[in-house]
Amino acid sequence: MTGVSVRYRQRGARQQSGVPAVSDVSFSVAPGEFVAIVGPSGCGKSTLLKAIAGLVPLTSGHVTFGSGPETRVGFVFQTDALLPWSTASGNIELALRLAGASVTAARKRARTLLAHVGLENAAELFPGQLSGGMRKRVAIARALAYDPALFLMDESFSALDAQTRIHVGNFFLSLLAESQQTVVFVTHDIEEAVALADRVLVMSHGPGRIECEIAVPLPRPRDYHASRFAVGFDDLQRRVWKALPAPREVDQ
């Protein structure tokens, strides 16, 4: 695992309409750090993640990683984004094959990963046959598959029901505790951000900028749910809430 740092300078990613989605955002993430990004809807949080992953072109500025301009990122979307025509195992195998693994190696590793996320019995099932929580775990296993230097997560747990979210959230935290991977996590849920992250970045209205940065000194290992009752959690949550820009009046 190589160290990762992400830096933005003078960024102004534009959406098709020509409206800047994010402007001049700079931040860096230390290896092994968990950074959450919160902000109002439409502030460009998702665009930022896609920019880090190289999915949208930058109009200015650049993204660098510890190892150079390119790295392996594991992207976990709000939807599970699994190929519905491919089995749980097939989805993970594809990620491995695209990273250059041989068919047999990919197959073996996919089984190991599925066992790792507790889904060894679901290997030959299609996403349509799995519950939301199971699909999310397959998506996480797929992101894990090619040893990402960086996890990019776009509201990854928000589509799950409350109970499943806690399960999958805890599961993810335990995986992280083992692997010490770096994470950039976008969410609109302040509680979730504080519960998970080492540092919360608060973004302004679009075109998004980073308004402020709040360190979360809660101890690890954490529990996705129980850490919300830790001493100081309320205070941190309030600080994030205050830092968030007031909602814009919508005139129609």
């Binding site: 190289g54 709000q78 984004a81 695209l98 990273a99 679901a122 099932l125 299609f126 046959q129 199971m134």
Partner: protein, 269 residues
Amino acid sequence: MSEEAVSGQGKTAGRPSVAPRLASWLLALALIVSWQIVASTIPGMSALASSPLLVVERLIAIAGNGDLWQNLLPTLEETFGGLLLGLAVGICGGVLMARSRFAASMLDPYVIGINGLPRVALGPFFVVWFGIGILSKVLLAVSIVFVVVLFNTREGIESIDPDLVDALRSMRASRWQMLRHVTIPSLIPWLLAATKIGIGLALTGAVVGELVGASAGLGWYITNSLNVIDMTGAVTALLVMAIIAMVMYYAVLLIERRLLVWRPQERAR
């Protein structure tokens, strides 16, 4: 958490019960029997509407003397040719229009115009231009089939899940890999749907072409029979057409079940 598995795969969602299928066969039987009764009790009726027994008799006769195969084969060739070419033209057009805004804006009025045109009216033109052979019928079938395929292909490409595209791109998939793992599998349900509709349309094109001008084929057999008020011959040809359409449809259904095993509704069947 693994016991929450496998939604929509329970035994209750299994195969549909036999009752509706049985009812379907019974309805067919009832229709055939009443047709036979009407034809044989009302004087002169069998000359006007033929009868099941007469049709079966004729079917056996023309299967024996070769008339059936002589007329079935050209119609099948025209239908398959029209369907396959229509799929090819429709897919190419649909991809072009989905991928290029320029092409879409430029061709849209034409596609809409052609779609609105009752294309069977092109039959006489095609027979004049391309002769009474197979070609004119294939082209007529293509002209009817391709629009549906084009619309479905276009819609299919436009409704590809952007998250899947982003997921594969974040894994650094090449254009070819994207095509193979996302674009083509996304299109398959749309193309199968277009094919199912296309079967009937291709058959229509083929038969209308034959009615207009041909020297063989089921449509030609109908014209020929009606010229001598041979109702049984005409009805037999109609029946053969219905059988062709059903066989082709079920063949596509079988292919669909194989290709779309990943869809919960396909597994339930």
